[in-house]
Amino acid sequence: MTVPTETVSLDQLVDWLARFRTLVTANQEYLTELDSAIGDADHGANMARGMNAVAEKLATPDAVDSLFKTVGMTLVSSVGGASGPLYGTFFLRIGTSAGPVTTLDAGALSAGLRAGLAGVVARGKAEPGDKTMVDAMAPALDALDAGLAAGEDLASATEAAFTAAQAGRDDTEDLVARKGRASYLGERSAGHIDPGATSTVYLFEALAGALGGLQE
């Protein structure tokens, strides 16, 4: 088994965020449609507004921690809904985990994402199965780590993460929401895909794309 020696550059991280913004804005209507079924119909607009604000501040980051601190704080101040503090915490924790470096190796990337997930869980108090973004993010990170442990390169491992995120998102359809606005609906929240899990799929689709995966 080989230890991957690839590294992720600042440019690739910025590309990840740019791709995430593209996916979120392209699917803004869809996210809002999902959110109108079980939430307050603002997830698409909120995420698009947040990532558009992020895009304006990404000029030339000098380190991974300052990059993600900027991203996190911008989301916190521009999103408005619950996804602001949740995605904001996710990116802030990645930055804290990574520190003032200019590249991440696979292990550091995984550790950063894990710290991000832990931050989301601590902030939102959601557990797997609560019909939230955690239901896409947790399996995605498990798949990423499994791929890296099996010696896959970052392109393959992040593709696997994307695939696992999609499966996790699809599984939210049957779940009864136990967190967030959708939880007010109780049993009536079942039968709808969770919008937060859906935007999390875009996060991993963007990551795989930025790290060389998803090539036709």
Binding site: S77, S78, V79, P85
Partner: protein, 238 residues
Amino acid sequence: MIGIVVVSHSPALAEAAVALALEMAGATPPPIAVAAGAGDGVTGTDAVRVAAAIDEVASPDGVLVFMDLGSAVLSASMALEFVESTTEVRLSGAPFVEGVVAGVVLAAAGASLDEADREASGAMIAKNAQLEPAGVAGAATSDGPGPSANAADVTLVNPLGLHARPAAAVVAALAEVDADVTVSAGERSVSAKSLMGLMSLGAGAGTVLHVEASGPDAATAVETLRLMAENGFGEMEG
């Protein structure tokens, strides 16, 4: 005096809740900061704004934060990471309107962070008790002081009875009085130092309240309440 922060998705909602509370807070309201809305005119909450609001009203006595719903709670908890002040900050689980009113009134009366939070958080108990049939309500009932206590029966003469503003005035007047004071209307008894408790009595004009007090300042407490009621809590015309 503790500081109050009001976190809402809607600036209009926050400002209105604060205005309502200030009507009852007397001449020396606590420092209050609103953190409502996000971005430019966006309905929502912003953790950075919440942190700035906390810092704005921070004093050594602490800051009590009231939130409406959903992301307001997430933003407020995240704001604790950004706060520069080192004073104690408490996120109250109180319902929004009741919490803001109780928090502002209690803060104005010099209550500690613990007292104000406890009172605000008990607001739903008082409200539910008020909606239950007389005599069933248990949560707001206390055993009251012993038989040797000072006591008096006072009649509410002002047209609106013991509504929010007079109740707040009673709480403020008794805040520094060293006595346990119980007010009873019919079969229900509440602490005279509890804003939500007093309001939950639903005591209208003509109601006879039984006041009992114990402790070093018991006589003062009973006399204070008697005089306030006799003067219609300053609400009599002419």
